[in-house]
């Protein structure tokens, strides 16, 4: 950059020619003006940032709660769900290759449900992210697709927002199902000899979600006790 301002210590000292002198002057002038502008506008931004910070945090929380609310109604528990989390290491059994958090819902101190993230790696167009609420009794209370890239208009019915059937969306058939009702062998789409429906012509998406939910349910069911027992903000280890 401005070489003339950082002289090479080993170089012989030279008297700069007049043109160079003006370079120094103009450089420092522009630098000062730019500095002033920067300070003013950075201050503006910083001020906005601090002014909006609480609102942003609140809306991030609200967003998370809204998602969770879809699988676990607020009325079912009374603790501060987001504060009662256990962090999971990357968990292949759930299809997750990143850390995640399991939230626990309690009513009057007794565990009622937990909210688990999972993923189906084998959707038609790759990964399908899932959020499951699993009851203390090991039932799948409800499930939602959090993100997916299934073909719009074909495989995207797994997301109830896109499902044409608004009254009983496809994913509703998993509500309150557990291995007591459907044995793990039959936790499959009908085409594979299981119990769950799938839209004709787009079985793959349904199959992926069904299988992933089965795996997640099995995994969580086995570790139910341990997961509820861990203190808040603890790390879960297998």
């Amino acid at each position: 950059m401005s070489e003339d301002r950082v002289p090479d210590p080993l170089a012989p000292i030279e008297v700069p020619p007049p043109a160079e002198a003006s370079v120094v002057r103009i450089s420092s002038r522009t630098a000062t003006i730019l500095l002033l502008f920067t300070l003013t506008f950075t201050a503006l931004m910083a001020a906005t940032y601090f002014a909006t910070k609480p609102a942003i945090e609140a809306s991030a929380r609200a967003e998370k709660m809204k998602l969770i609310g879809e699988v676990l109604p607020k009325s079912g528990y009374d603790n501060d769900l987001l504060a009662d989390g256990v962090s999971l290491p990357p968990m292949p059994a759930l299809g997750l290759d990143d850390v995640s958090t399991v939230y626990r819902a309690r009513k009057d101190g007794t565990p009622v449900a937990m909210v688990v993230e999972a993923a189906a790696p084998d959707g038609y167009s790759g990964r399908i992210g899932l959020l499951l609420a699993i009851g203390a009794d090991g039932r799948l209370l409800a499930m939602r697709v959090t993100d997916h890239r299934e073909t719009p208009g074909l495989g995207d019915y797994i997301d109830p927002k896109k499902d044409k059937n608004k009254t009983s969306p496809w994913i509703g058939q998993f509500d309150r199902k557990g291995f007591e009702d459907i044995n793990p062998e039959q936790w499959k789409v009908k085409k594979d000899g299981g119990m769950f429906d799938a839209h004709v012509g787009a079985t793959i998406s349904a199959r992926a979600v069904t299988n992933a939910s089965g795996r997640a349910l099995a995994w969580a069911g086995e570790r139910r006790e341990k997961l509820f027992a861990l203190p808040a903000a603890a790390k879960f280890e297998e």
Binding site: S2, T30, T32, L35, F37, L39, T42, A43, A46, F50
Partner: protein, 185 residues
Amino acid sequence: MFSALFVMALGAVILGAALGYAAVKFRVEGDPLVEKIDSILPQTQCGQCGFPGCRPYAEAIAKGEADINCCPPGGEEGIKKLADLLGREFKPLSGEHGVEKPKSVAVIDENVCIGCTLCLQACPVDAIVGAAKQMHTIVAAQCTGCELCIEPCPVDCIAMLPIAEAVDNWKWKYPVFDIAQRRAA
């Protein structure tokens, strides 16, 4: 808050200094674009574009002060080339500046000419030869057809004649087949 100000201030100082330095050190001299534009203009030097000659118009285009469709002698063809050079969209010749005419040369009626030298002074490309009080003639090959000599002539002896077609400058026409033939088939 302060870390924000500090970080950005650091960036600002470095950048400002560097830019100021660059601005002085690497000022661009001359504008090669003007040359390129000028070489497209027809050099008729007629001033119909509203500038005193082709080069001033070229400079105005380069600066973005003039549109590319103001030169009637250059015609659509010239506008197309300018649009290409400048990456702008083609637009038809603006009507304010005149219309594209067939290329002509000025001819002096040598019987009428009184040798006043007024046309000589008006011709931007020195295409008129003659001395004071003598009959003047126009070197047809050098006349750009700018019509600037017509106005000053006190006896109206200069006329513009379209360049005649001859076997050597005859051009093959754009092949068009008449509609009747198309319809017939």
